[in-house]
Amino acid sequence: MAGAIGSQDALDRLRLANPAEIIRQVAESRARARRGFRILFVITWLVLVGGMATAIALTGRVHLDFLATWAPFILGGVPVTIGVSILSIVFATMFAVVGALGRLSTHAPVYAVATLYVSMVRGTPLIVQIIFVYLALPQFGIVLDPFVCGVFALAFNYGAYMTEIFRAGIQAIPRGQLEAASALAMTDRMTMQRIILPQAIRIVIPAIGNEFIAMIKDSALVSYVTIQETFWRASTTGSRYFRSFETLLVAAIIYWLLTILFSLVQERIERRLRESEVRL
């Protein structure tokens, strides 16, 4: 029987095989497959992006001279974009910690204030909040620097969304941690500061990374309060010279590259956390 002969062959091969050699070959073939996947991925991207670039170039409407003149000006908005985003995420995190503690409070007024904050902020458009801080508050005699307005509005808004992230992070800490802290006679405040929050922050770091990447894009909205960040520069030069296509394209590419860059940073941080000796 052919089948029997075939399996006898396989058995013979097995007997002669060296396990170390088999393991090496398996690893090699897996590595080959991974390499192949990556190469195909890159080629596909190059084809697609190259195709788009060619299509744009073929329209003959892109004025490279104009771009050469104005691209540096638009690029000058990048540090502003990053600065606004970093400052805003830092303040948003503070709002979120306070908001989360409020949302977990057993004091009705504290809980009510935190809930109102989250509800109001999430129930109104970010752009309305930003312009409100900039244009409406001065009617009450509150005049803030545009930069302060922009950062405050972004932080206040993101803080509300991140409140729920932090609340979930705090609630993810096992009950035993609370009990251990109580049994050691720690006060509630000490327990929160020293035991619960440090662990909760570790848990929510990946989520904060996502919020930060979203923040980079939403920071374009502070152009409405005349902060001269990337989008403001692109749209202003674009409309002044009727070259919005070029300038907005540059702005879009900048935002895209920034988000790719910070996604890589985020991946690194997450890997560092995963490999950390601290196991929550």
């Binding site: 057993t106 035993g176 251990a180 109580s182 050691l184 006679a185 000490m190 020293r194 035991i195 000796e277």
Partner: protein
């Protein structure tokens, strides 16, 4: 508050002459909603005694232990540890004065948990010194010295700067014991300290506990380890359905149980062959 006494309590072998009980649990009752978990238990422990609480799961033994340091607020009754007596006051459980009294009780009675509950974001030494420094106000150098002494006692000086995540279960529990000791409490409460451990790791934890018992630490231990109770306990309390069914020296309760419920429990725990009829 009633002044009932534990009829079975006697000063232990290591108890200094004339010493009064250091722990008194007075006619304690605990309800979870309509569920009557503890039906009036009275327990007295003298200094330097080791007491074992045994019983089925759900019998109330862990609840009793957790009531002693008010991790559970008892419904009726009182707890006294080292001269500080606190009455159950579930209606004012959030009252600042009551909570401060509870904190004072906890400084006197430290607990070791089944699940260790080490702080994973702190190194071993930091786990040990956190509460002494922040709660008791011990100077840092002194706290570290005390912590190192107890870490050495549980045989884990070499793990001083590790994170808990890198320790085995047995090592974690020994660190947890050292953490409780570093608070220098009057009483140690153990809540099934070996139940979450791989069987091969139980021994190292029991060895530490036996050593503590023989050195005269005052311990109340909820356990399923009958060998430990036999070896280390001054008295064994068998609890069922929220009341003490049988109390006595370990060889009496474990060797010659009088109550049929105790016999049944021991038969199930140890296997029929070990229990004399």
């Amino acid at each position: 508050m009633s002044d009932v006494r534990d009829p079975f309590a006697r000063p232990g072998a290591l108890t200094p002459a004339g010493a009064a009980p250091i722990v008194r649990v007075g006619d304690l009752q605990k309800f979870y909603g309509a569920n009557h978990v503890l039906k009036g238990v009275t327990l007295e422990v003298y200094p330097r005694e080791t007491i074992c609480l045994i019983g089925k799961s759900g019998s109330g033994k862990s609840t009793l232990l957790r009531c002693i340091n008010f991790l559970e607020e008892p419904t009726v009754g009182s707890i006294e540890v080292d001269g500080l007596r606190v009455g159950a006051d579930p209606r004012h459980a959030r009252n600042a004065e009551h909570r401060e009294q509870i904190r004072q009780i906890r400084l006197r009675a430290q607990m070791v948990f089944q699940e260790f509950n080490l702080f994973p974001h702190l190194r071993v030494i930091e786990n040990l010194i956190e509460a002494p420094i922040r709660v008791k106000g011990v100077p840092r150098d002194q706290a570290i010295a005390t912590a190192e002494k107890y870490l050495d006692k549980v045989g884990l000086s070499d793990k001083r700067d590790e994170y808990p995540g890198r320790l085995s279960g047995g090592q974690k529990q020994r660190v947890a014991i050292a953490r409780a000791l570093t608070m220098e409490p009057k009483v140690l409460l153990f809540d099934e300290p070996t139940s979450a451990l791989d069987p091969t790791l139980v021994g190292e934890v029991l060895n530490v506990m036996e050593e503590l018992a023989h050195e005269g630490a005052t311990m109340i231990v909820v356990t399923h380890e009958m060998a430990f109770a036999r070896e280390a306990a001054d008295r064994v309390y068998f609890i069922e359905d929220g009341t003490f069914v049988e109390v006595g020296q370990p060889d009496e309760v474990l060797g010659h149980p009088k109550d049929p419920r105790t016999r049944e429990f021991l038969a199930r725990t140890l296997g029929e062959a070990h229990v004399p009829a």
